[in-house]
Symmetry: C2
Subunit: 342 residues, 2 copies
DNA sequence: AAAATTTACACATACGGTTGCGTAACCTCT
DNA sequence: AGAGGTTACGCAACCGTATGTGTAAATTTT
């Protein structure tokens, strides 16, 4: 507890022999306070270096003007970009952002939620953990009037506020582009089966191929555990086929980096002998020579700032005393193919 | 202002016809409250779903258990890693972290500081903007008893708390390694002159070469504006020399990526015809084939968590009423060469 | 049995600022 | 001059919790 006390309205009031209410109103230039008094108050406030203690207001208003953000891992460019989107949105709405990384641990996620509840954040934005399958820790927030908006990694339920991304739209564009370029044999290097994203990507892949009237060949659908060695193996499996794919969709950019190495090792050339499409998460492509033909942009910034907008709307709404329950705010943002200039 | 009121000690007190002080003490199992009363209080608290409102405590104790972190840009892996270090340190000390990106704008930095002051954070960790040259906005925090610890990008003054990184140590190791490998001609691709980091790197470079008894040749010291085209030009300038350098130290990893491309374009091979050393900031090397021989690790996580430790020490210290002014806490962490397995 | 001590609780205040309501003093109008 | 209105301010309560101090009643001590 800091010892040296800061000047308060009380202090100003004492010096001027007026009441604290007068000082408070004078500082806000309330019309019911005379001009002379108002000026004297301002003068003394200036002299004492008075600055308002907003924590007192926060406490009284039961509002902290702070939102919490829970994300799995800041090291992922997707999430750091998302956080920037949130911060920008928060700044214009005069909110602060407190942050917690769940590091994909359900237990950490719960601890962070509890902590944010203790700090009485006005709302929470969250991209859930891979492990998260129960939601009591979020539901409990309802009691404290703390709205929650999920983004990107959202629970599979309908009674929640969320902003998510539709991967299909971007992939359709990408496959269309590949088809337009004359590619008919498009392979897939997928992730490990236990990840939900893996099944999702497979469905999208099949979906897009069918919509483009392409034949589906199980030989050019392989998977990797995401280890470097396994990534190389997966790519090599495709390269040694009698009829290797002309283009390959990879699980993510990390996989793709290894796949490109495998292509080079095989004496082939990326974007000439074989082309790639990936799911965007590395901003590093800009600095590189060999790039995928296109990437599926998932708009971290946009998703997150949209989610933040939802959250502020919910906060404002619940501030009204006669607030009827609001229907869930939900938004699905289309992904888009981003072509890289080669 | 949320309307549906949460249960308070007052509510519990009313139900049991006791005073709030009794309830408060009972909830903390204070010995001066009888066992029966204590248990009844706990029971009612449980039934009502009472949870303590810490904002009241924060307000009363003039302590928010929140620290502010101001960094230039989360998109840089260095800073996202630093933030993780801070978060981990904060969690074990039961602190929350509120975050602000200055985006290298001095004005934003000032706004963020003012905002964090309003929220009465208990302390601030900051990596300053490239533009920052005045410090009133930080000095002003002293009045509010908000300690500040700078890290990585620290002001050039001695009366401040800071944690910084000594780039020389790592570079010495790297040059020593290059020398041990038989390289005698070591070039430098530096950044634009207006950046402080540029002069710093030049000095380190000259320093290390001298200490290893190597000749300094101005022909193999070039610079780039950091644009891709310019990076390529810089590298090419070295490659077309009669006696090109055998190894090159690059300003940073982004520059290096382009330099590697230039090498490949020239029909040469990275790590065979020419080797590189860079200043670490990209975690992506792990996923790539061509890597620098070594990188100068600047320990974002360690710097940041050390700085956080300093901050908590300062906060604890200023909490003591008879606290004499503390001498500045300062720490310089040695950088280290990190060798990449090729 | 009276005195001393302990037990178990209530009262009041503080943290810093805001705000509804009350009220003197002054001014205006008839 | 008295009624009515306006101006300029003070009073008091409030947000939720903690805690120093006071004090009956119960218990122990002498």
């Amino acid at each position: 507890m800091p010892h040296n006390k800061l000047p308060t309205v009380k202090e100003i009031a004492k010096r001027l022999n007026v009441s604290t209410s007068t000082v408070s109103r004078a500082l806000h230039n309330h019309p019911s306070i005379g001009l002379v008094t108002t000026m004297r108050v301002h003068k003394v406030a200036q002299e004492l270096g008075y600055e308002i203690n907003k924590t007192a207001i926060f406490f009284k208003e039961r509002k902290t003007y702070t939102i919490g953000v829970i994300i799995p891992d800041l090291a992922e460019p997707f999430f750091s970009s998302a956080l920037t989107g949130i911060e920008d949105a928060a700044e214009t709405s005069r909110y602060n952002v407190i942050i917690g990384q769940s590091l994909n641990s359900f237990e950490r996620e719960k601890r962070i939620v509890a902590n944010m509840k203790d700090h009485r954040v006005d709302g929470i934005l969250v991209s859930i953990t891979k492990e998260t399958s129960t939601y009591e820790h979020f539901e409990q927030l309802h009691k404290f009037n703390i709205p929650v908006v999920f983004f990107d990694r959202v629970p599979n339920r309908q009674d929640i506020n969320y902003v998510a991304c539709n991967l299909v739209s971007g992939m359709l564009q990408a496959v269309a582009k590949l088809v337009a370029k004359g590619y008919r044999r498009i392979g897939l290097i997928n992730g490990p089966a236990k990840l939900a994203a893996t099944l999702q990507r497979l469905q999208i892949y099949l979906n897009c191929l069918r919509q483009n009237g392409l034949e589906i060949d199980q030989d050019i659908i392989v998977s990797t555990t995401l280890s470097k060695a396994d990534n190389l193996t997966a790519m090599n499996r495709l390269l040694v086929l009698e009829q290797p794919p002309e283009a390959v969709i990879t699980f993510n950019d990390h996989v793709l980096l290894d796949c490109m190495a495998a292509v080079t090792n095989a004496g082939l050339e990326v974007n000439k002998d074989i082309s790639f499409v990936s799911f965007a998460n590395l901003p590093v492509w800009e600095y590189m020579d060999k790039k995928p033909l296109a990437s599926i942009e998932q708009f971290a910034y946009k998703q997150a700032s949209t989610a933040a907008g939802f959250l502020f709307k919910l906060i404002d709404h619940s501030a009204q005393p006669d607030a009827p329950e609001m229907p869930p705010l939900q938004c699905i943002i289309d992904s888009e193919m981003v072509e890289y200039s080669q």
